[in-house]
Symmetry: C2
Subunit: 106 residues, 2 copies
DNA sequence: TTAATATGATACCAAATGGTACTACGTCAA
DNA sequence: TTGACGTAGTACCATTTGGTATCATATTAA
């Protein structure tokens, strides 16, 4: 397992961070704008953004004194890759079910 | 966000638990069998199994004095549902996984 | 220049987390 | 019946985590 995979799973484990990800899916936002939406201090939001950045889920564009946070959906790839491990498992289960049904028809 | 969604994300946030999930994808296993594969005590593995159970990712079949842990792939549905929010950002990889897992539900 | 704005960074705290050790209890086999 | 086996449960510990408060720095506007 790569460190990056762990960082992404960890980043998505917190409900506040998942909310941030969904908000950034709609539009880029600064820390101050994000903080308006939550009942916590800007420092707390900043910490969450750091974890999301470590997970490669967001990037930051410096615009004057503002830092615009942008979603990087490609950062979610490690999670989807991990889930793809179960493709064969699910296919096998479905194949067994199919075989059982067909065997029952005879 | 549902409590169940949080429980699944939390369950998958730990690398040991993700390893357990992958092992159980290959075959059902008891706690003792799982513990052989890790460098930690049975009590620690048991705690991880409790978290996985809370997330609906495994079920337990009592067989005599043994407890056989079985993967419940349908428990991953909340995660795939959450990811489907980002359809606009990526291709149909997710749709494929989601169709497979939902087909596995009873 | 000066003051307000937007953010970064650090120290600190309570609670959650991942782990161990130890004990207890039901089940199987001799 | 007795003892080994497989597991559950609890107390306890160190570290991580999510949060606040506070101060520092850079940029914009008057």
């Amino acid at each position: 397992m790569t460190l990056q995979t762990q960082n992404v799973f960890r980043a998505l484990a917190d409900p506040t961070r998942r909310d941030i990800v969904q908000m950034l899916a709609n539009r880029d936002m600064t820390i101050a704008q994000l903080t308006e939406r939550f009942d916590m201090t800007r420092a707390a939001v900043k910490k969450h953004l750091t974890v999301l950045s470590d997970g490669g889920l967001i990037s930051v564009e410096i615009r004057g004194r503002e830092r615009v946070n942008r979603l990087e959906p490609s950062g979610m790839a490690p999670v989807l890759d991990w889930f793809s491990y179960f493709d064969q498992f699910w296919d096998d289960r479905l194949a067994h079910l199919k075989a059982a049904i067909e065997g029952d028809e005879k």
